[in-house]
Amino acid sequence: MSGADRIAAGGVTAHENNRPPKIEIHGIERIFLKKNETNGAQESFVALKDVNLKVESGEFVTVVGPSGCGKSTLLFLLSGLASPSRGEILINGDKVTGPALNCGIVLQGYALFPWRSVRKNIEFGLELKSVPKKERKEISDYYINLVDLTGFENHYPYQLSGGMQQRVAIARVLAYDPDVLLMDEPFAAVDAQTRETMQDELLNIWEKTQKTIVLVTHNIEEAIGLADRVAVMSRNPGTIRDVVPVNLPRPRRIGGVRNTPDFQILSHHIWELLQDKGSRGGSGAQSAAVPRVDIGEHIRDDAVI
């Protein structure tokens, strides 16, 4: 099967209502055991509490929230890399008990295999699936072309720019071909211009493949620009504060919607949701609790990791 066929076969229209939701998150809680920094005692830390969310098949949901609110933790649970302390996650109606073929994750940072060339990185998941060599090459060719890395097949990660490395990471998970794509701040470490190109590329890929995408970000503009719905998180404990529908036209390009009034209203609304938590928790001592989430282009590069 060529890459194009696979995509055609995997295509599912976004709004088929008679199916169960693609992803159901029911009352998730995630507790970590942490060492207290002052007395060294073990204590439990509630990273996620009472998280509920349903994602339809083919839907693009973004999760926005301040750093440390549990976004990465939530994606880990979705991917099956970790299990919730309480509650359950269903994908296609089946309980998630571990990593599965129908779910792929792009981890925060690039996490490329430094000893593998671009092509070999992209073929990693295919090797694990024991796809024959010839077919692997066809598939990797297709995705190398898709993420615009033709000519760099034999380069190693250290020879690539940040944006290119990120595209390899995306191509690697696309080649693995899960129906559910989880992405943890995939564009946080690339410069503003590259970021917008890649956001549009991702929209393009999503429109073509109709995969279900859950993308984590701490950038409000990115959250709105990409999503059908934005889940806004707050911290202490990490939970989903509200889910905001985004009714901007599709197909969409970030540059085309960024300056519309609707976008600005959404942006302000989400910003307020994020601020609100700060004032609700504190009695006047607001500043310390205000989450640091940026509006627009001002992503802090040090926010990665």
Binding site: L81, P99, C103, A111
Partner: protein, 272 residues
Amino acid sequence: MEGNAKKAETGGIRGILRVLSRIHHRIMGLYLFILFLILWQIAPSVGWTNPVLIPSFSTVLAEGAYIGLGNVLVHIAISMKRVFVGFIISTAVALPLGFILSGALPRIAEALNPLMHFLSQVPPFILYPVFLIIVGPGEFGIYAVILWSAFWPILFTTIDGMRGIDARLIQCARSMNAGNFAVFTKVVFPAIFPNLVLGIRSGLTMSFLMMVGAESLGAASGMGFMIRNAQQIGAVARIYLGALLVAIVGFLLNFAAVEVEKTLVTWKEIAQ
């Protein structure tokens, strides 16, 4: 444009000069080496040093000719066999142990850490008399010294390498359904491969150095024996010959190991 023409004109001479200077840079070390040999040759003959205590380079070479190239090579071969056998056994034990300790039994590894570092400080030569008492004179003591000296660098670099693996790479593989075996062969092993090669190289260098010492403690053959034997019978030139051979073989061994390392380790760590 004119500048270009001029450049082309002088290009021939400049090119030659550039090639010469490049050669010059490459053999810079060789100049000093040759100078050293010349000094070694003339110092004893012009009376700067005592020719009995420091025989000239040609005297040392003549001693080699006297012993015979074949005999010299046999000593070298015996020494190298000891190094390689000891080193291979050591690697075969230290590598898997490093993997198992840090991969499967991290708690035990942590508990053992102080003990391992303590033991690694025990000088290898101490083992020789111990083995002499336990199993009597012979090869065991020599092998014990070689094993011991190669073992620790290999074990420690393996454990350090395992500790330094980016957890996200393993998570990435696991998220794609990789089992333990696939995680080991496709992530852990390639990730620590540069460490392994480095550890094995330093293990090899260590065992070579310690072999010479061990042989001079008590062996009937090998380069170390040659030096010790020469000292006992007062053949001064032969002592120097032995030292020269050890230096040459050690140099070649290290050179080969570095080249192997260069060809095996083809990727670099991403600078972050």
